[in-house]
Symmetry: C2
Subunit: 201 residues, 2 copies
DNA sequence: TTGCCTGTTGGACGATTGTATAACAAGTGA
DNA sequence: TCACTTGTTATACAATCGTCCAACAGGCAA
């Protein structure tokens, strides 16, 4: 008879991915202070040493988790965009509205963001990662706004305004879920977009 | 000759206050992960045991620091309001604009907020504290909006919108200080306020 | 002066932290 | 079948964590 193998050997990328997902789950369940190397490794079903083997440090794992969660959000936004059809204005509204619905408006995601933010000020490389990710989000917003016919010289400011509104609504939606709803958030954001275009006209 | 006293006895409130300020400084300097009982006590110039004596747990100290920092922000906002004179619209704009200038738009303050946010989801009492503080901010905003003549049935939604915009701008202003300026933030917020009133007319 | 109250200290405590490293096992190619 | 590579484990390590508590000392009342 063959005994159970002592461990499962996995593809490096698959292992990395499973560690990232375990990190996200632990962050969501226990918060930043509970996300230790050992707890994350236990969640992933591997030994603690693997975290160091693949990521070097726990901060690097958190940064990778942020990047992967950000990519997941991007994918959800892209899907909302694809479902919106071709009307530029509808696409813009779909892009914004998706931020207030699952899977993006998920209080569990907040833990990953907060854990990442807590590293931004102390570590320059992580600050750069945030700048890049934030700039990417604004660039997509600018493209959507341009497609709606917003003049070029207003793009930058409008993108900053909308991303700030979305961030703020999303944040409070996660922190105080009972205060207002995702539907209300969508209505508020839609109203601001309306105002944006009626002012530029 | 008299030797240096072994320690300074302080009023309980004064000691509590100095520990809170030390906690805020450590959070700003080292981030949430570096804010331990010992480091905070060292910063305050007292022994580590005092933190437990006055606050019971480190989480309670962070919550108290958040409350005190929030009070400081409220005071800065009140001062901006007092300096704005009596015109309702000027008062509203002063209230909003102050969030993007020192001492509120201070990246060091962000550390306190992030540390507090990281506790919100895990602890119900801290979630309640957040709800209360956030509701208070919105109530002040609603009062300012009402003074400007905004109809009652629009107050709630407008206050949520403006507070979200301010929060989002403030957050990115602290996270990516090089991306846009406080003056730009003020202009964006002012534009949204304009839009709010021209739409309701 | 004496005695009491209490803010304060300093160290002990076990648990947990992140990281480093040697031994092990599972495949792969020769 | 036999190395050989490499993903993986287990353990060791010093450092630090939060909490607790007995002892000390400053100030006040008697």
């Amino acid at each position: 008879m063959s005994s159970k193998p002592a461990f499962n050997r996995a593809e490096p990328d698959a292992r990395r991915h499973s560690l990232i997902e375990a990190c996200a789950r632990v962050l969501a369940r226990e918060g930043a202070s509970g996300a230790s190397v050992r707890v994350i490794a236990l969640e992933a079903g591997v030994s603690a040493g693997l975290v160091g083997h693949y990521f070097g440090s726990i901060d690097a794992l958190v940064a990778a988790t942020y990047a992967q969660t950000g990519a997941k959000v991007d994918a959800a936004l892209a899907e909302a965009l694809a479902a919106a059809g071709s009307d530029p204005r509808a696409r813009l509204e779909a892009f914004v509205t998706a931020s207030f619905m699952p899977p993006i408006a998920d209080p569990q995601l907040l833990a990953t963001w907060v854990a990442f933010w807590s590293l931004v000020r102390a570590r320059a490389d992580i600050a750069r990662q945030h700048d890049t990710q934030y700039a990417g989000f604004r660039a997509r917003l600018e493209a959507l706004l341009a497609a709606c016919g917003l003049p070029d010289d207003q793009l930058r400011r409008a993108a900053i305004a909308i991303s700030a509104l979305v961030d703020g609504l999303w944040l409070e939606l996660c922190l105080s879920p009972g205060c207002f709803t995702g539907a209300e958030s969508s209505a508020i954001a839609a109203a601001q977009i309306d105002a944006l275009f009626s002012a530029s006209r």
